[in-house]
Amino acid sequence: MDLTIRIAGEAGQGVLTTGQLLVGSLAELGLEVLATRSYMSRVRGGLNWYDIRIGDEPLYGPGDKVGVLVALTDEALEVLGEEVASGGMILHNTGSGKGDINIDLEAVAKETADSTLYSNTVAAGAVMALLGYDIGVLEGLLKKQFAKKDEGVVSGNIACARAGGKLVADQVGKLKGPKPTRKGGWVYDGSTAMGLSAAVSGVKFVTAYPMTPSTGVFTFLAGAADEYGIVVEQAEDEIAAVNMVCGATYAGVPGMTMTSGGGFALMAEGLSLAGMMELPIVVMIAQRPGPATGLPTRTGQQDLMFTLYAGHGEFPRAIFTPGSVQQCYDLTRRAMETAHEYQTPVLILTDQFLQDMEHSIDELDSQPRLIDRRIVTDAGEDYVRYAVTDSGVSDRAIPGGEALVVCDSDSHTADGHITEDMDAHVEQQDKRMRKLKGMTAGALLPERFGAEDAETLLLTWGSTLGPGREAVALLNAKGVSAAMLHFGQVWPLAVDKVKEAIGSPKRIISVEGNCTGQLATLLRSVGVLTECELLTNYTGMPFTGAEIAERIQK
């Protein structure tokens, strides 16, 4: 079984604090946890919510029906009340009597610990007790969280958690939370998993211009900088950011920048520079619905084609599209390795939904395991940077040694110097493009979920992995023969192998967070597909498994 707890209120009211206390406690208990965030582009007011789905079986995406709604405002109750499942409960933060349970959280906090600041802890305590969970876990978390603050803060919070629990005592038993089934503790969001992977893999230079929803990774790496030995700088604009990363990788350390669609548009020229100069840069793009400023804090998958074609001229690139928190960790490293193996830009395409998604998974390794930069250290005076090779990959030396490293954005000869000779221009263009052969051979193949011979095949990429998996399970449970193929890398594509993976199902449905079906378009353009159905969602909210399953059966 599973159940979703939704904390909803205005920005600045403590939706996040309450949610994080619960996520930490519930994961520690050993429940399967998958939390997602929905917020407006403002610092105060509005209506934000935090969904915490808990279960006794692995969870992959957001839930459909809310079991417990903690409505911090009247508006939250009015707007979101109808999404509460039958048998669900509403805890309302006023004495209005409109909820199943009515508690003035701030008044309780004030009375218990003489501070309205602890009202979030009252709410967390109430939810834990309501679902029949041990409040001691929450107390442990509070002790850990406020270890550096004075004793009064810890005891005040604990008293508030207990007070919250007591206030719902007469309701306990009406709702039953799922039973813990895993060895608890570890919860990561997509941003943390990506940032941690980059740090562990040896990113040494990170720069960005802050842009939602990519800022989480930037913030994580700034926090980890001293521990892992990373220089982190906030650039004056995205153009500066990408050019700084080009400089840093030229000089010899792995570098990375992160942005969203609008910022990436500004980086397009720098991306082309990295292609021409053969620099191993990594750019993480967290999508939000566009065009232009669009919905800054919502999710979407509208930039696959943009990412594929960004930058003038033609040059090889790889695009990874992680679908889960675990893949955020695994594919960030793979992106860095691919960039260095082929000396060309690599892009990671993610979105708000995945960056903010928190998932209970096994502990991620935080010990440094630096990637191989694949540089040559014994190059001499006769070294040339762009020697023509069969693989398209030339020996890469870095400045400071005996070899002089000459790189140019202009067309250049093998020695890196500017030329207008067309033979050299073509020879170098061909050399660079030859890298695609190796990159294609080594590309990540789409992963199948469900039976090989399923009649209906869903195609997904990026963060639609989880909802897609759940949709397949729901369809299978209803006797529908369905499976899914998920693309964790969308470029380059090993066409024959992808064709083989798709096989010949009766129905092929591309499930995408955009309105034109960009993966389907790409697969058609390379000859993998002829026709397929589209199932799209460009509302700004992520898919749920139930929504996909329902729309497929219509």
């Binding site: 153009i239 400089g247 000089a251 140019d408 954005s409 202009d410």
Partner: protein, 276 residues
């Protein structure tokens, strides 16, 4: 098509100030004792930006206007390298203007040499950010109406670590100024180098500059911000040249705790060897 034979070096016009500038730059590198293997010549796009190809060193000839961010990334990866930028007035003050403002704020330790001929050369004669008011071009056909950008005054207001101006027609002065910049260890060094463009700037000619430039006296105290600013604002009948200003700031790279002992490149090599 084989155009290698016709692709002569350098690609500059006869009489271009860049010829003596290149020669002086090489002499200054020699005099300052710069190891060519530890030297990275960064540039963007423009006639000045081609200079790195005509001398010896590591080269990063990047995008138009983007030399500063690229050089910043290089310097932070390996702050033990000497990182120079060769740029023009369009590349540095126009296309790269935002980076110019912020790189000085950062005080990243790069040496910036701007070949300032007050006109666009490579695109054939349009106004540049430093063109004088009223200058007529095929684009600005009623004359330049935008006030010229004053790079030195802006740099001084931002307390740039070293701010200097020189002229290609005063070779000893230029060499000495370049050496001062190359030997500078406090952070961002800006040398704005006045230079005629015989092809496209018929107004600010060699003779025009030669009659106006005047070295600041030995008694000038470059630590005096107000005096330096007054010198930077002077333009017209008399143009002061020399090191106008020095500030006491600590370079960006020297403020990084992560770089206290070793460069990032050195740290990576050590860790790479140590962990499989």
């Amino acid at each position: 098509m084989k155009l290698a034979e016709t692709d002569t070096k350098p690609a500059w016009c006869p009489g271009c100030g860049n010829y003596s500038l290149l020669k002086t730059f090489d002499e200054a590198l020699e005099e300052a004792g710069v190891d060519r293997h530890k030297l990275v010549l960064v540039s963007g796009i423009g006639q000045a930006a081609k200079l790195p190809h005509y001398t010896r060193g590591n080269v990063f000839n990047g995008l138009h206007g983007r030399a500063l961010p690229a050089a910043t990334g290089i310097k932070l990866s390996n702050h033990k390298l000497e990182v120079t930028i060769t740029s023009g007035d369009g590349d540095m003050y126009g296309e790269g203007g935002n980076h110019f403002l912020h790189a000085i704020r950062r005080n990243i330790g790069v040496k910036v040499f701007v070949h300032d001929n007050q006109v666009y050369g490579l695109t054939k004669g349009q106004a540049s950010p430093t063109s004088d008011l009223g200058m007529v071009t095929k684009i600005q056909k009623h004359g330049v109406m935008s006030l010229p950008f004053n790079p030195l005054a802006i740099a001084i207001l931002e307390e740039c670590s070293l701010v200097a101006r020189s002229f290609v027609g005063e070779r000893d002065h230029l060499r000495a100024t370049m050496v001062a910049a190359l030997k500078h260890t406090g952070g961002f060094a800006l040398v704005d180098i006045l230079q005629p463009c015989p092809s496209f700037n018929k107004q600010n000619t060699f003779k025009w500059y030669k009659q106006r430039v005047k070295p600041v006296g030995d008694d000038h105290d470059p630590r005096d911000k107000e005096v330096a600013l007054r010198l930077a604002l002077r333009w017209g009948d008399e143009i002061p040249i020399g090191v106008l200003y020095r500030s006491e700031r600590v370079s960006f790279e020297n403020q990084q705790t992560v770089l206290a002992e070793k460069s990032l490149v050195e740290q990576y090599a050590a860790a790479e060897g140590g962990i499989s």
